[in-house]
């Protein structure tokens, strides 16, 4: 019974941590679906969103604002910052590159990454800023059944809830709305989308705005967990195996991929770690991704790419 209790705790902790990876992966999927671009800047956008939230929030609290008002105003300010950066990216980075190759667009997002990272830290500062939006203590469940109970982190549960709401909303947006259909059209073929009167610049602004807002949501959860700091941009690297496993074009794939990576690396760390010396958590996700690449290159939920020759 002790063994099962421990397994359940590791598994639940892993799954919930995985949801947090999914939050970051979602931003990538959105932009990839809508523009066919792998957006290298997604991690930088999480940093920007976090800084644009935590700095004004701290300032307002120091000025004697009630905390709830500071949070609301801080979130609103950060959302405006993300909207402004979406507009700037469309106007100056992607707009001039309509009808260009996907690789060209990818390179331009690498450039955007450095500008966003540098700009965000120049404006908002480059220290570690703690953010306390969600409770960070833990629940102990089933204390009667298992000695010590099962530890569940409250923050992870919040993250899971938020991710669930986000995914439901995005799924409806992509599959059911006119704008969602236009987004998918632009991703497939710029010229054809233009020929039916889809305004590409508006669509790209919407995409980057949504990705920016997803980055903001990810920043609230990850900022609470790690503090808002530069290393938050490395989340992008953790999102990569999630994307490969789930498929670059699938919103549900980003979620399932995150769950697999989160649960897989925690279970492997606890049960495989002692056998081969630990530290598995850092590379396990990439090995999983490699295995998926060998067997199913489009990912578990990805669209199979069919080329007629």
């Amino acid at each position: 019974m002790v063994a099962f209790g421990q397994f359940a705790e590791v598994l639940i902790g892993g799954l919930l941590a995985g949801v947090l990876y999914s939050l970051v992966a979602l931003g990538f999927v959105l932009i990839f679906k809508a523009s066919g671009v792998f957006n290298f800047a997604q991690g930088a956008m999480v940093l920007l969103a976090g800084l644009a939230l935590v700095r004004p929030l701290d300032y307002m609290v120091a000025q004697g604002f009630p905390v709830w008002a500071a949070i609301v105003l801080g979130l609103a300010f950060a959302a405006v910052v993300m909207a402004a950066s979406a507009w700037l990216i469309e106007r100056f980075v992607l707009g001039p590159l309509v009808n260009q190759d996907g690789l060209t667009l990818f390179m331009s997002t690498i450039g955007a990454t450095f500008i966003i990272e540098g700009g965000a830290q120049m404006i908002f500062g480059s220290d570690v800023y703690p953010l306390r939006l969600f409770p960070t203590d833990a629940w102990f469940l089933f204390e009667n059944q298992f000695p010590g109970g099962i530890l569940v982190n409250k923050l992870d549960v919040w993250g899971g809830l938020i991710a669930g709401i986000l995914v439901a909303g995005l799924a409806v947006f992509f599959q059911k709305t006119k704008t969602g259909r236009a987004l998918r059209a632009v991703a497939d073929d710029h010229a054809a989308a233009q020929s039916v009167g889809i305004p590409i610049s508006w669509i790209w602004f919407v995409v980057w705005l949504v990705a920016g807002l997803v980055a903001l949501v990810a920043a609230t959860v990850w900022g609470t967990k790690l503090g808002v700091q530069f290393s938050i941009t490395f989340l992008a690297l953790k999102a990569l195996p999630v994307l490969i496993i789930g498929g670059f074009t699938s919103v549900p794939g980003a979620i399932v991929g995150g769950l697999i990576v989160g649960a897989g690396e925690k279970v492997a760390e606890v049960y495989l770690g002692p056998l081969i010396g630990g530290g598995i958590e850092y590379w396990f996700a990439y090995v999983l991704a490699l295995i998926v690449l060998l067997g199913r290159p489009q990912g578990l939920f990805g669209e199979r790419i069919i080329e007629r020759i």
Binding site: R181, R184, D188, V196, G197, I198, I306
Partner: protein, 272 residues
């Protein structure tokens, strides 16, 4: 004759059948040192099928790209429904009623036939983002209304059996048909077809010709067609413009063009 012009007609730039709907004047387009189009002028009359023919590399597709705004010519003027421009923009062209298909099928490969054709309704749909996201009330009834229009097109083009199929998997001839459907969903006044029958067998060509003629007759759509199959061109078109090395070498009825010495030379290959 009525002395005063109907103000509504002038505002929307309505063109009577048989009158000039679009004209290009003295258009030149070059890419770096390559001159794709040199000083070409011709016009398109409402309700006609206008063919553009010429050997490979003559500038036919470039001309379509100028008309729908993908390319901006260095010289020349385009007049569409009474408005003169030095260059169109794709969005403006689409919103003013110009639809097109592409030489190499340009469909949204991951989407179904139905969704592909639905994208053609983009400019006809009015409801905003929010009500669509919520997907009820007016937005929902609007979606249903447009869906009906699209189903009519699907029936007309005889592609009901592939309604739900992802278009990337379809055979080439059917993809061409879906692409025509997407353009028709825009209810265009001017339809540009870039080699709609390339790579088709005789039966498929006959089907496509039938669709094109029906579109012209039922919807009174003006059609510009680029085509290599001379039999098709002679049967379908009312007037033909011939390009060679970016220049116009002939313009007239199919019979006139066929007997034109410059055209015969261009096709048979005479030293330039």
């Amino acid at each position: 004759m009525k002395a005063d012009v109907d103000p509504k007609a002038t505002m929307t730039g309505d063109v009577e059948p048989g009158q000039v709907m679009l004209s290009v004047e003295n258009v030149s387009l070059s890419f770096g040192g390559v001159k794709a189009i040199r000083g070409v002028s011709f016009d398109i009359r409402k309700g006609e099928i206008r063919a553009i023919i010429g050997p490979n590399g003559a500038g036919k597709t470039s001309m379509l790209n100028v008309i729908n705004g993908f390319y901006h010519p260095q010289e020349g003027v385009i007049t569409f429904k009474g408005r003169r421009r030095s260059a169109m923009r794709p969005y403006i062209a689409a919103s003013q009623g110009i639809a097109r298909t592409f030489q190499n099928v340009a469909l949204f490969k991951g989407m179904s036939t139905l969704d592909n054709i639905m994208t053609g309704r983009t400019l006809k749909m009015k409801r905003g983002l929010l009500s669509h996201a919520l997907h009820f009330g007016p937005a929902k009834s609007e979606e249903i209304r447009h869906r009906e229009a699209v189903e009519h097109i699907i029936d007309f083009l005889e592609i009901a059996h592939i309604r739900k199929a992802p278009v990337g998997k379809l055979p080439y001839g059917l993809q061409k048909r879906v692409e025509l459907g997407r353009a028709l969903a825009m209810e265009p006044e001017l339809l540009l077809l870039d080699e709609p029958m390339a790579g088709m067998n005789l039966e498929e060509k006959q089907d496509m010709s039938r669709f094109i003629l029906t579109v012209k007759d039922t919807f009174n759509t003006t059609i510009v067609i680029i085509e290599h199959d001379m039999g098709v061109v002679m049967d379908l078109s009312d007037r033909v413009v011939v390009l060679d090395y970016g220049q116009k070498i002939a313009d007239g009825t199919p019979a006139e063009v066929q007997s034109n010495q410059a055209v015969i030379d261009a096709y048979l290959g005479v030293a330039h």
